[in-house]
């Protein structure tokens, strides 16, 4: 019992530490990609190839003066960035980083599970539930700042996030129907046994990807913080590490979403013809973890690439896209999948 709890704590600290560190370097990656897209060099002064830049950035964040304006709603103003980062982090509880199940590498009489909370059979629902809480951070930040632009940003984001949650939830239903389970690990195993999700659910993948961009407030859907219209959006009044937390939360969301895309549509740890769920031992476990990480990295790079490729949407177009395009498409995808399944399985 105690050992279990200890293992759990180790896993949690590992995940938190790695993801936080990853975020720091993701910012560097983003800046490099931005520089590439704009035909610049990018940060290259701190350390070799600018590799120490994230550390310096972090130090700067911590050392800056933390300004809290006196007209803000203080409790909520302080609560908002924490909410953002917490909701972004706890989603990782059910994400499998590698193989999960009885075939994992054995350590101290038990297989290691590359997942903080194995055996939760409603993994996807959990992630959606947690993801739906992410809106609080933004809307409360906007409200508590007591600032016209922040407020508008918060209002915009709440409408945007609620709207895009619907098609996002519906787009994965096709995969859920195919697999017959809400457990992320089962979904990966089904894909390794049969075929990657993107091949059987291309429309679902497409809708999910677009909604993921909107849910993470990334370009071309970063309306809540669009600089030209709203100064800085909901985080205009924030400074220092509170601002850093919003930044962190955004990148954590990107990582979560990338994991989801990889798990749902790109087979998770699966490499065709190489891996399957029956393999045991450390070597295969490491291969699987690496495969998963690689795919997630590619996905993150894709997200950043899109940022420097597409211009921002107008707000009414954004809502129209959700309600008039995405939702009908998602419903059609679901109905067609269900019908075909019923016909095939009888």
């Amino acid at each position: 019992m105690l050992l279990e709890i200890l293992g759990l704590l180790i896993k949690i600290s590992l995940v938190v530490g790695i993801t936080q560190g990853a975020v720091a370097y993701l910012i560097l990656v983003e800046r490099k990609i931005a520089a590439f897209a704009q035909d610049r060099v990018g940060p290259n002064r701190v350390g070799p190839l600018g590799l120490l830049q994230p550390i310096v950035d972090g130090v700067k964040m911590f050392l800056k003066e933390d300004v809290t304006p006196n007209y803000v709603n203080k409790p909520i103003f302080i609560l908002a960035p924490f909410l953002t980062i917490v909701t972004a982090m706890i989603g990782f509880a059910v994400v499998p980083f590698g193989p999960v199940g009885p075939n994992g590498p054995v350590l101290m009489d038990g297989p290691i599970q590359f997942q903080i909370a194995p055996g939760i059979d409603i993994g996807i629902l959990y992630i959606f539930a947690v993801g739906s809480l992410a809106v609080y951070g933004i809307i409360l930040a906007g409200y508590a700042s007591n600032n016209k632009y922040s407020f508008l940003g918060g209002i915009r984001s709440s409408a945007q996030l609620i709207s895009y949650e619907i098609p996002m939830g519906m787009s994965i239903l096709g995969m859920v129907l195919l697999v017959g389970s809400l457990d992320l690990n089962s979904i990966i195993e089904w894909q390794s046994k049969h075929v990657w999700g993107i091949l059987v659910q291309p429309l679902g993948f497409f809708i999910f990807l677009i909604c993921a961009f909107a849910e993470t407030n990334r370009l071309p859907f970063d309306l809540p913080e669009s600089e030209q219209e709203l100064v800085g959006g909901f985080h205009t009044e924030y400074s220092s590490m509170k601002f850093g937390m919003f930044f962190l939360g955004e990148y954590l969301h990107v990582i979560t979403v990338s994991y989801l895309v990889v798990i749902l549509f790109f087979g998770g740890w699966d490499i065709p013809f190489v891996t399957d769920s029956a393999q045991t031992g450390w070597i295969f476990a490491m291969i699987k973890v690496a495969a998963m990480l690689g795919k997630v990295l590619l996905m993150i790079v894709f997200v950043m690439w899109i940022r420097w490729t597409l211009p921002r949407f107008r707000y009414d177009r954004l809502m129209e896209l959700a309600w008039k395009r995405m939702i009908p498409l998602a419903i059609a995808n679901m109905v067609v999948t269900a019908t075909v399944l019923q016909l095939v399985r009888g």
Partner: protein, 286 residues
């Protein structure tokens, strides 16, 4: 039938009294004798005390982890709801309600209703409360309106509410099944059918003991086996519990019509909300 233990009765009364006084003190009202902040703090303390009494009343699950989490969620939900109904700022109200929903979801999770827990968070916390916040922010951006700082007849309301709570608690605690299962004896076995019909008991036993699967619309399903403890003790262990699949099967077979009706209601509400909220062109409302 009034089979409540005197100790429980007294505990109940103390919890209700302290809770009632605490709630009354926390209510937004005219205060002349003390600072509002102090009164609020005293009320909150009383509420916490009442919640603790309540925890002692009801008992809690046996495994230690579950016990801890159960108590955390229960106290959080009770205290958060008390704060919700007394908050001056409606935005705070909504946020406290979000806390209530989250802790209730935790309780759902502890009762084995994981799907429902996630669903409640998605629907309530993710959509309904956000919409409420949205409207509050549009309608009234600061909690300084007169009607938010002045409750309507707080004393009468609190008394009514806590009489209701007290009655409910007495009814719950004086449940005949309560004494039957707590004593663990078969002395009042004749009362058992009030909890679960004898016929169903036999069926459950037969199903779970001899035939662990049964057919629903051509699909094989494992029966749910969560039963009152005395009966459950006699059953073979290790039969897996279907969760979402079982819920879905029950929902779309036994409760099919209800599901359809709910869908219809949802559709009608959608249309109704659109019609009501759309501003009339050239009408009196902006």
């Amino acid at each position: 039938m009034f089979e409540i233990q005197p100790l429980q009765l007294i505990q109940c009364l103390i919890a209700c009294l302290s809770g009632g006084v605490g709630t009354y003190l926390m209510m937004p009202h005219r205060r002349q004798f003390a600072k509002p902040g102090l009164v609020f703090a005293i009320g909150l303390g009383l509420i916490l005390f009442a919640a603790g009494q309540l925890m002692m009343l009801g008992g809690s699950p046996t495994p230690i982890v579950s016990k801890v989490f159960f108590n955390i969620f229960a106290i959080a939900s009770v205290v958060a709801s008390a704060l919700m109904i007394t908050a001056r700022d409606p935005v705070h109200s909504a946020l406290w309600f979000a806390v209530v929903v989250l802790s209730t979801s935790g309780l759902f999770l502890l009762a084995g209703a994981g799907f429902l827990a996630a669903g409640t968070v998605i629907v309530y916390a993710g959509a309904i409360i956000v919409t409420f916040l949205f409207v509050i922010m549009l309608a009234q951006s600061e909690g300084k309106a007169v009607y938010d700082r002045l409750a309507r007849q707080p004393a009468q309301a609190t008394v009514t509410g806590f009489i209701l709570i007290w009655c409910l608690l007495i009814v719950i605690l004086s449940n005949p099944g309560n004494t039957y299962f707590q004593s663990g004896s078969n002395s009042s076995a004749s009362l058992a059918p009030r909890l679960i019909p004898a016929k169903d008991l036999v069926n459950y036993k037969r199903l779970t003991a001899t035939n662990p699967t049964y057919m629903v619309m051509g699909k094989t399903l494992t029966p749910e086996i969560t039963l009152p403890d005395t009966i459950q003790a006699t059953l073979p262990a290790g039969i897996p519990q279907p969760h979402v699949a079982g819920l879905g099967a029950a929902m779309y077979t036994t409760h099919l019509i209800s599901s359809e009706l709910v869908g219809a209601i949802l559709f009608v509400a959608l249309a109704g909300a659109v019609v009501i909220a759309t501003p009339r062109v050239g009408g009196e409302s902006s």
